[in-house]
Symmetry: D2
Subunit: 287 residues, 4 copies
Amino acid sequence: MIRLRLSLELDYEVFDPGCDFIFNIHAAHTNRQRVIEESLTLNQNVATQVETDPATLNRYLRLSARPGPLHVAYQATVDLSHYMALAEQIPEVPVARLPAQVLSYIYPSRYCQSDRLLKFAMREFGQQWHGYGRVQGIRDWVLQHTRFTQNTSDSNTSAIDTLLETVGVCRDFAHLMIALCRAMNIPARFTTGIDYGANPALGPTDFHAYVEAYLGDRWYMFDPSGTAIPMGFVRFGTGRDAADVAFATIFGSVISSAPRISIEAVPGADGQLIMPRHCIEALSTDN
Amino acid sequence: MIRLRLSLELDYEVFDPGCDFIFNIHAAHTNRQRVIEESLTLNQNVATQVETDPATLNRYLRLSARPGPLHVAYQATVDLSHYMALAEQIPEVPVARLPAQVLSYIYPSRYCQSDRLLKFAMREFGQQWHGYGRVQGIRDWVLQHTRFTQNTSDSNTSAIDTLLETVGVCRDFAHLMIALCRAMNIPARFTTGIDYGANPALGPTDFHAYVEAYLGDRWYMFDPSGTAIPMGFVRFGTGRDAADVAFATIFGSVISSAPRISIEAVPGADGQLIMPRHCIEALSTDN
Amino acid sequence: MIRLRLSLELDYEVFDPGCDFIFNIHAAHTNRQRVIEESLTLNQNVATQVETDPATLNRYLRLSARPGPLHVAYQATVDLSHYMALAEQIPEVPVARLPAQVLSYIYPSRYCQSDRLLKFAMREFGQQWHGYGRVQGIRDWVLQHTRFTQNTSDSNTSAIDTLLETVGVCRDFAHLMIALCRAMNIPARFTTGIDYGANPALGPTDFHAYVEAYLGDRWYMFDPSGTAIPMGFVRFGTGRDAADVAFATIFGSVISSAPRISIEAVPGADGQLIMPRHCIEALSTDN
Amino acid sequence: MIRLRLSLELDYEVFDPGCDFIFNIHAAHTNRQRVIEESLTLNQNVATQVETDPATLNRYLRLSARPGPLHVAYQATVDLSHYMALAEQIPEVPVARLPAQVLSYIYPSRYCQSDRLLKFAMREFGQQWHGYGRVQGIRDWVLQHTRFTQNTSDSNTSAIDTLLETVGVCRDFAHLMIALCRAMNIPARFTTGIDYGANPALGPTDFHAYVEAYLGDRWYMFDPSGTAIPMGFVRFGTGRDAADVAFATIFGSVISSAPRISIEAVPGADGQLIMPRHCIEALSTDN
């Protein structure tokens, strides 16, 4: 069991006549990701509402901010009890046996146009063993064919753009990996958290986007941009692609400041400090 | 209450080594759409499984067909008890108050790139009353700016293509209407059924795609291609767009024949025959 | 006759191992645009070559710069003797009678996908008189449907993007107008110069992109972004779209500074100062 | 010297009120492609005009057909005196030394968006020798990564679509090869003719599209779809891409029949019959 303490601070200057926000910055509750303690602080005295979507377990914080500064601070302590498995023992699931609620994750989405990559993916990955190793192979291929480069992509950039232009940030790596998985009928989804373990030379701690693929009987984590340590990922939101899981969706005029984020391993209930580390086993925090 | 009897016959020639199918041809169960009786017949003696996705209520029939002819026949009798409301009394729902499970329907999807149409939609529809009438206005705009034309679109055609090329079939009309609604933060989804009431001159009875928009406290039906009578729509599937709700998703090699479909109003439990008709009230069969 | 004096200063920091440049910053020579005097100054002692493309009359300056600072200064005095005509007397040219060298300007190009806008353009402009007035109508439509906004487009932005997103800079206005003209079989090309007469509030004098359409027996100028005074346009380059007529094409690594540009009317050979002004007549400097 | 005799027959049913045509079905005149004899026959008694574009040498036949059947027959005898060179002796031309009239062929065009493939091409081809062999390498890569498949592409299909979907016809192979060449700053153009030597099993003799790349001091021919024998290519048109060189551009309503085409080698002026054959030398008919 790994215990992580994380904190987020978000700052906005809200213009007249105020602004609606939907945040997805609360750690999700799953059997393997337990929120031991959390708190939310606002500088404005406005009503807030936190709702959980039953299909994804995403927790949405909603509020209507008044004009002026808005400061949102969230901090949580989260225990992760990873499900770990040997990669070579995890098969893909034939389409005929995918659970109904997983099915939609083999279909194309706004930024993951898997329908256009069927032949491309088949050529590259069609001959590999149909299991965790193939998904790992797709992840490695994306990492090898894409260069992590800031300011080369924007909110309109899709998996196809990234395949062609061979540059991007974590969001783009994730979209490309997802599109290639779905093209092989492997359910894949876009998941958000914090880039635990990222090299500080790349900048301050930031939000992160990674991939979960459905294999065997659960969702396993993959980090196609290779910048962070998956064992330290605390899941905020999951969805079809970035269209579903912005950390903040803003309906009105604001100026945003860069978020300030921290995450660190802390001693668990038993007083032991266990640090997330790179490992070769497959990891899941889904259930 | 309207009672409809519908029947579908689907025929495939399945090649070696067989083929997995996911069908979405079962009438959904909702409080206002009750399946009184239904039957499914296959010519092949293979296991079938019908599962309901809790988030959408879509019912998925799955089977692994053997090589050779596959004949699938579904028939059902369905009672519709429409929720009817006066258009001018149905407001839009501010984003801050949308239910969590509706939220994902304001985000862009594979074929409905609403994120690229924000300014376009604002220019056309920004000044209208924020209610049912605005959605009806979007529906009318789509109908006026698009010509129903067979064989001008394919499985890659998106809302943006339809906006530019101004032609398409019911699927394309629906995608464009959905994209424009979402661009105005109005939740909209893609729904499939049968084109009840379509002009026989347009060809035999066929599957149909239409739109549901979330207004007030429920999903209301709209028929942007204007080819059918919404009061006669029996819902099969609903989703983000056509990527989610094909009537058949096929994993293997087959030759498909044209489906044979019929739907007709029949006398209800009380012996009365009530025919679907065009009406000016807003209609919902969602719950 | 209008006499204009213009000067350009371009600055680059060239990295190892040097860099090839193709500039298109020389005023074109036409019967109605005469270069009275011009000079080119470089800080590097490298060979330069100026070649004129016979098809477009574009003048290309080429050089291989060494590492270090590169300063390029061009200044010229140019006499414009506009061909002026009454708009209502200028017809479109039926395709059957277009000169061979004009034909390619009715075909789609990288940023002007007119082939995708045939029906859209026909709906908007099909019923208008087939003459200068229709092209002016297209220009006005583009101006009304697009908002001049810095930093909303990039080198990948095409006419279709601009139509959808309804924002852009002069390059984007020009691409959209060209695409709509070609969709009506009206030859249109992309032309570059300086934004004579632009409001200083919009920033320092800059390069400009505008449109020429072939009507009657020549190319007439249109300024779809409406930011400048066409009578003051000195043509540098013309081509199918921005892909053909960058003011600088750079093959190597450099850092560019913002160009410094000036243009002003000066007294002509007869000592008279004639200022460019907005006018309702059609204007051409082509031949 | 190779002598070829070719004939084309095109049939249309022209609707009211008639229709303008621009054909590009005349063999081009170059120093190495000499038209010994040619004839054009129409069933309608309408004026025809054949014009040569000085920049491309394309010959455009234009006419205004009346309603009713239109039959166009063209036949020609053409002598080809190929320029042949050893592949390993042909270098690429540094951008700084490309002739002005060749420059536009390094820029992106409607169907060849080379600007989006710079990094992709650099990764695949950046390390190869900068000469004919690299272009041949690009040609081979396209052939290996694309499957010749009828009815998978349409008039909207671009190089990027072909790269993603990995299928197409000769037009698509040519667009992809051109885009990759231009991404490496190698001038490349789209050229049309007849598929001399194509396997009859693929269907009747048809129009063909291939590629010319500018290397050394001239344009060399490449056949990326690998279906025909380049030594038997008689050039009709050349341009930026398929947007420029349709064999027929039609302004009005018609029904088209499949063209009937034949081409065969015949004895030359000296009575000798020399057959086009596959060869390893580089071939040019440009000048």
